[in-house]
């Protein structure tokens, strides 16, 4: 094991420990789990003799109308085809992931500003090992959160008689690979900016932009919006984790396992490319803020 890898392992271990002994992750998990609970219990009450009827529950009525108005009935039908669990899982994971990514980006910026990273770099570690450690820590926390949420969904399935089927597990796998690339963007944002708040702003800006482009290309509300989004999407899709995630999900829906794995592989490649870019930036600029 190289010195850099050993340093990254030690720092990552320390950072994971710090994350586990602070309350933030637990609170984010509880928030995510309660969102999931609201969705799975609401679904059971929105079922009548003819199947799932969103109008029976105000929560699902709002969700159903909003999604159907924006993306069409086919989108809603596909979303709930297997049941509420894939959707509930995705909604639950969003705040947890956001907490992990945002706190990491902010912390990295703060540590850089305070000179903590510089201090570590005077020792056996360098900026890249600190970057890798931070990334690995985020990844492990994401994986841990995904497993916790998945266990909760399986428990909900057993309790309510839902099917914890392939779509749920596909959603979990895609969520993990999406995290790979999105967290890499977090690292890149930390490298590109000089302080914590600008890192955070840049990271959230990137995520929001890529999400708007994705949702825009799915939108059915206005042909102009969709056309514009599709044009922008064509330009930025190569660097958008959501594009590759969507590619994977579409391949899965089409029964194309090769396409599914290909989409995940591209997400991993994108993460590696972004991390490599971050490595070059930190090598060129140094660890000083």
């Amino acid at each position: 094991m190289s010195g850099r890898a050993r340093a990254a392992r030690v720092i990552a271990k320390r950072q994971v420990f710090e994350a586990l002994v602070s309350p933030g992750l637990y609170i984010a998990l509880v928030a995510g789990l309660f969102l999931g609970y609201a969705l799975v219990s609401g679904f059971a009450r929105a079922v009548d003799s003819s199947g799932f009827n969103p109008q029976l529950r105000p929560l699902y009525d709002i969700i159903g109308r909003g999604l159907e108005g924006a993306f069409g009935k086919t989108f809603v039908d596909a979303l709930f085809a297997e049941g509420p669990l894939p959707f509930a899982f995705s909604v639950s994971f969003a705040p947890v992931f956001l907490y992990i990514a945002v706190s990491s980006v902010f912390k990295f910026g703060l540590e850089k500003n305070a000179g903590a990273v510089e201090l570590v770099a005077y020792g056996p570690a360098d900026g890249t090992s600190y970057l890798i450690a931070s990334y690995v820590k985020d990844l492990l926390l994401s994986l841990f959160s995904i497993l916790v949420l998945l266990a909760f969904m399986v428990a909900a399935a057993a309790l309510y008689n839902y099917l914890a089927g392939p779509e749920l597990f596909v959603a979990a796998v895609v969520a993990f690979f999406l995290s790979l690339a999105l967290l890499a963007y977090g690292s890149l944002a930390s490298m590109l900016t000089v302080n914590a708040s600008s890192s955070l702003a840049l990271f959230l800006g990137i995520i929001a932009f890529l999400l708007v482009v994705l949702f825009g290309s799915f939108a059915i509300v206005g042909e102009y919006v969709r056309t514009l989004s599709t044009v922008i999407a064509r330009a930025v899709q190569w660097v958008s984790p959501f594009f590759y995630g969507n590619l994977s999900l579409r391949a899965n829906a089409a029964g194309d396992p090769l396409g599914f794995v290909g989409g995940l592989a591209l997400l991993a490649v994108l993460a590696v490319v972004i991390l490599t870019a971050s490595h070059f930036i930190i090598s060129a600029r140094g660890v000083r803020a």
Binding site: L20, V21, P23, L25, Y26, I27, L29, V30, L33, F34, G36, Y37, V40, S41, F43, A44, R45, V47, D48, S49, S50, G51, F52, F71, G72, T74, F75, D77, A78, A81, E82, G83, V148, F152, A155, A156, L159, Y160, N161, Y162, L163, G165, P166, E167, S217, F218, I220, R226, T230, N246, R250, A253, A254, G255
Partner: protein
């Protein structure tokens, strides 16, 4: 009093002016008769519409005409007013593919029809002389049927006259105290003439011969424009022509009719779909074959101003499955096979509103009536909360992609367990913090 009457009179006089009449504008349209995978859908692309959508590898019919179009806000659709203006325009359709090679389509005389067969899908298109032959054949069949009907009506009238006069004779004889037995026997032996059967050759008979551009292209993006015979391009006729094809075919979908709301069926189209129900009612299932199309392209093939999602695919019902069976699993009884049966919907007796679905009895209670629906009845939740099903064909072989689950859902008694589980991370956090505090104290 006088003033208010005057105001009301004025308001009434101007009432028509307040009514919102849709604005009709003259448009050059492509009138499209598009094949949609199971039959033909009429639609039109107005001048402002950027594209025409067609399915690849099948005959579609286009005409170019001037007409009035207007937006109908009640249904959110664009409509034509062909009664007021309908001017077909002669010329040539020029279709150019993305590599720049063009084909010119001249108008053809055609008819289309659906021949009766085992499946609903027997659509055929006949052009020119063949169209004349088909139309002549249909006209002959129709003529023969009409002649038979006329003959039947004449015979029926004669029979009814004879019956009426016999009744008069019986009454008269009875009044005179005579023996009417022979006449009554004669009356009861009288038989109504049998009505001729309508022609059975076609599900949809040949349409009257029309003239249109017949477009049958492979999948791709084309440019469409209309040239008049002098070679000039008609303004507003240039459009994108999207010819698309199904992504997958031969999927199995189910029309699901709940017993307590049979007028509101739902579809289980996606092969991975699970049917969640509350188990309060029987389900009546009708399996069908389906094909998968792009959501937006298919919607626009059927109705050019429709909305859809270009990034999603959708299964579309194509035809029923003849002589199918449904194999059920679950309920502890192993596998069981159910068959399609006729059912009759009857109004509930008494003051209770509603209806019930009963087995159709053509010899008994429902004599002389038609069944309301023919479907497979499944009782969800019988002995098991999960019922598995799949369709088998006439030879008993399972049809791939027909597997579904019906799950009976109800908020469980142990539901409070779930929010407690959701709080578990807080418990873990408390545990970690307490242990850490203790270690600090110790050190």
């Amino acid at each position: 009093m006088k003033r208010s009457s005057l105001i009301i009179a004025l308001l009434l006089a101007f009432a028509p002016a307040f009514a919102q009449a849709p604005v009709r504008t003259e448009n050059l349209i492509y009138s499209v008769l598009a094949y949609n995978g199971r039959d033909y859908s009429p639609t039109f692309a107005r001048t402002a519409s950027p594209a025409v959508f067609l399915i690849a590898g099948v005959d579609n019919f286009l005409t170019v005409r001037k007409t009035l179009v207007y937006f109908w806000p009640l249904t959110g659709e664009w409509k034509t007013n062909m009664d007021a203006l309908n001017v077909p325009i002669d010329g040539v359709l020029e279709i150019t593919d993305r590599w720049g090679s063009s084909i010119r389509v001249i108008p053809s005389r055609y008819t289309y029809y659906n021949e009766r067969g085992e499946y609903e899908l027997n659509w055929k298109v006949a052009q020119d002389a063949e169209a004349d032959r088909v139309w002549a054949h249909w006209s002959a069949i129709l003529g023969a049927y009409e002649a038979a009907m006329k003959d039947y009506r004449d015979r029926l009238a004669k029979e009814q006259d004879a019956r009426a006069s016999l009744i008069v004779r019986i009454q008269r004889l009875r009044n005179e105290g005579g023996d009417v037995t022979a006449l009554v026997d004669q009356l009861s032996n009288m038989k109504e003439p049998e009505a001729p059967q309508p022609p059975q050759d076609y599900v949809v008979p040949p349409a009257e011969i029309q003239q249109a551009f017949i477009v049958n292209l492979s999948a791709g993006d084309y440019t469409l424009r209309f040239k008049s015979f002098d070679g000039s391009i008609l303004e507003g006729s240039e459009k994108r022509l999207v010819v698309h094809q199904r992504r997958r075919s031969g999927g199995i979908g189910y029309e699901v009719i709940p017993g307590d709301r049979w007028t509101r069926p739902v579809d289980s189209a996606t092969p991975s779909a699970v049917l969640y129900v509350d188990g309060s009612s029987d389900l009546y299932l009708r399996p069908y074959v389906e094909d998968e199309y792009n959501d937006l392209y298919y919607a626009k093939t059927i109705r050019n101003d429709a909305r859809g999602n270009p990034n999603l695919m959708k299964w579309e019902r194509i035809q029923q499955i003849p002589r199918a069976g449904i194999e059920l699993t679950g309920g502890g009884a192993g596998k069981s096979m159910i068959r399609e049966e006729p059912w009759f919907v009857e109004q509930a007796q008494g003051a209770t509103l509603g209806y019930r679905i009963v087995p159709f009895d053509p010899q008994g209670a429902q004599k002389g009536k038609e069944p309301s629906l023919i479907a497979f009845r499944v009782t969800p939740g019988q002995g098991s909360a999960v019922t598995g099903l799949r369709t088998v064909d006439s030879s008993g072989g399972p049809l791939p992609g027909s597997e579904r689950q019906i799950r009976v859902i109800a908020p469980p008694a142990a539901e409070p367990v779930l929010p407690l589980l959701a709080l578990a991370p807080l418990g873990a956090m408390a545990l970690v913090l307490v242990r850490r505090a203790r270690r600090y104290r110790r050190s």
